[in-house]
Amino acid sequence: MSVRRRERKSAAMRFELSSEQRLLQSVTADFLEKNGSVATVRSLADEGRHFDRNVWRQGAELGWTAMLVPEEAGGGSASGQGLIDATIIGEQMGLHAAPGPFTVVNTVAAALAEASNADEHADLVGELVAGEKVATWACCAPGGRWNPEAGAVEARADGDGYVLNGVHDSVELGTDADVLLVLARTPEGLTQFVIPAGTAGVSVQPLESLDLVRGFARVEYTDARVPAGALVGAAGAAAPAVERQLQLALVLQCSELVGVVQRVLEFTTQWMFDRYSFGRPLASYQALKHRFADMTMWSEAAQATMAAAAEAVQERREDAAELVSIAKSYIGQRATDIIQDCVQLHGGIGVTWEHDIHLYLRRATVDRVTWGSPSDHRRRIADLLEV
């Protein structure tokens, strides 16, 4: 049986890109091909490192850190719709299972730039956009649940500053970050501070991660004194900002998952044409073709719901929270469903260290459970519907 593989354009991921967006996509892809591929991930892991600061700075020059920050604050998007542009980069991060603090830096940069006292943090935003500094987002309670309110660290007013006590878990790249955006609770309510990682009384303990280059940390605050200037927004008024940060982070996480799935499906499809059993390619077996049909449907649905969530958050629509949770609940589940099935279709090679598919499965698994699992988000949908 002769098999002609009809090429499927990988550009089919996005239907209506402006020329600026296409440029952003291709420049990012080319750069990651050279500096952020799975080979890079493997060598970083061998060296016990999470990412390369130089590469991150170069990525920042390509706009990786600028999309969610307004031009007057040193940022600037490709199309005027910064979050949509950021998801284009996020997909490329997923396609390459790339290392780096893309999601957390962008989330924190947006948080600082959108804060009511953004002026006070303008220098830091500039450093984040330039890739000179790396920030992360500390908001999760120990014990694994994701609801930002549940795990707030206590902050007590003390003189002209605050004293922090408590613990955050699941702090992405916490051991690499120069600054932390810390969620705490004051008597007035949820409050956020931005503090240097080396602040006295703040200890950062690495947590070994399933993902070879996406490390996590536990951050403990023991009578850590922070000045009033560290406040992001007003004391007690952080709840809406935190919700916004969660939406931004989840949209970027979903865009990464969409890219991960896209790449795994690409190379597994190719494998189906290249691998022969009983004298015919795997792609000719109906039992397997039908599984690819299902996976194609899930992947298209994942792209659709990610794009819908990104648009709603970009436009700050009322249904943004709902659409974000819908996207995460679906993509978090389907991404790992698809990759596991692709492991199965690879046969034994699929569960070896040598094959790259585990790097994608690692990333998708970590993304699935951080900032809310699919089940968590289904329940959040019910909350939003006021069941």
């Binding site: 002609r4 090429e7 109906q286 073709k289 299902d294 194609t296 449907m297 659709a304 719901t305 949770s325």
Partner: protein, 425 residues
């Protein structure tokens, strides 16, 4: 897509906003709010097996026509408005929550009409489409036969030429709503010596005539909109051939394309709000049941409600994506099968969850509360959404072969003269 079907985005058409504004004023002044309708009326509105639903739908269609809202994406010369899918979408948004002729949408407006538009003769378009727009003509499909449905090109209904007419003999089945219809697109075999795809001819056949013996088939849910027809020397004029004689497969392919879009929910010719349940958003009925059965605080129940809600939204989002992809030719026309497959699969899951959450209330009527056995009945009919409009197995073949380019299934009848093809009994 041929030039005639692409609703002209030419200069001089009414802007979407002005059209929307006109709809916003006309709809409340002329249509009934669903909230003001009785439960029985709401059930009837979408009940294909209720003759009263068809009578009412024809009246509603006439009202839409007189109001200037019929056939939004159909060309003006055939009684439509010649507007764009964006106009249709605006109308669908505005008309949500109002009574519309639901039963006319599939297959009349979304499958048969577009197929005639794409493949019919000028005379056929002028004869049939304006009547469709006015609610005077209902169209259905005579495709499947008792011998099989998925292998559509293997039909054995015979059409024999006799001067200016063709004589049709054979049997058709699963022709949804045929009892209420005026004309059917009927696929027949005209050349038995040619390989199966090359001996087919499509006709527009008058349904209500003595030579068409129609019976209705009772379904598991008690409905009986499925029909079966025996064609006994049905005489059809040669002018009723749609497309070419022996070129019927091209017409059927176009019809199936429209069918997949319609069944998946992606048709630009669908007029009315998508997926309106009796009480508005589809999740509402489930939420009612969860509250009534005291499960509102149960995390497991809340999770399932969230899942159902997500699936409904994602279905719409996927339709938007796939339709946009096909319009810009980034996705092939076969991508309609992606939404068709999602429609079937997500309905399966939603129905499953309905029974899970409604529990005993899905299988026995509560003497004190509302009867929620519809959850159980939907479960009995669960597979219908994976069968009607082409089975999900066929959709999976199409996705893997025509989108992913995987090898086609082996066909023992390829290039074999049809009269030599093996058939079951």
């Amino acid at each position: 897509m041929t030039a005639t079907t692409t609703a002209g985005e030419t200069a001089g058409i009414e802007s979407v906003e002005s059209f929307r504004q006109r709809a916003r004023e006309w709809i409340p002044a002329n249509l009934r709010r669903r909230a003001d309708m009785t439960d029985a009326e709401l059930v009837q509105n979408g009940d294909l097996s209720d003759a009263g639903a068809w009578k009412r739908a024809r009246e509603l269609q006439r009202m839409l026509y007189d109001g200037g809202f019929a056939g939004i994406c159909y060309p003006k010369e055939y009684g439509g408005l010649g507007l764009t899918p964006e106009h249709q979408r605006a109308f669908n948004e505005e008309v949500a929550g109002y009574e519309t002729p639901v039963v006319l949408q599939v297959p009349t407006f979304t499958i048969c009409g577009p197929t005639i538009l794409d493949m019919g003769t000028e005379e056929q378009k002028r004869e049939h489409l304006p009547k469709v727009m006015r609610g005077e003509e209902v169209l259905v499909q005579f495709l499947s036969e008792p011998r099989g449905g998925s292998d559509l090109a293997g039909v054995t209904t015979r059409a024999t030429r006799d001067g200016d007419v063709f004589i049709l003999n054979g049997a058709k089945i699963w022709s949804t709503s045929a009892y209420a219809a005026d004309y059917a697109l009927c696929l027949t075999r005209t050349d038995w010596d040619a390989p199966k795809h090359r001996g087919l001819t499509m006709f527009l056949v008058k349904v209500q005539q003595p030579a068409v013996q129609l019976s209705r088939i009772k379904q598991v849910d008690g409905g009986d909109e499925f029909c079966e027809e025996f064609l006994d020397d049905v005489e059809v004029p040669a002018s009723a051939v749609v497309g070419e004689v022996n070129g019927g497969w091209a017409v059927a392919s176009r019809q199936l394309f429209h069918e997949r879009n319609a069944v998946g929910g992606g048709s630009q010719y669908f007029s009315g709000a998508r997926g309106e349940s009796r009480r508005g958003a589809p999740t509402e009925e489930l939420i009612d049941v969860v509250r009534r059965t005291g499960q509102a605080d149960d995390p497991r129940a809340r999770e399932l409600v969230g899942e159902v809600h997500a699936l409904g939204k994602i279905h719409s989002q996927l339709i938007d994506r796939v339709v946009a992809g096909m319009r810009t030719e980034k996705l092939p026309a076969a991508a309609g099968s992606i939404i068709r497959l999602f429609g079937g699969e997500s309905a399966t899951r939603r129905v499953e969850i309905g029974v899970e959450l409604a529990g005993p209330a899905s299988v026995m009527a509560d003497p004190d509360g509302p009867d929620t056995r519809e959850f159980g009945v939907s479960f009995l009919m669960r597979q219908a959404s994976s069968l009607g409009g082409g089975s999900t197995e066929m959709a999976r073949n199409i996705i893997s072969e025509r989108i992913l380019g995987m090898p086609r299934e082996y066909a023992a009848d390829r290039d074999v003269p049809f009269n030599q093809v093996k058939r079951g009994r």
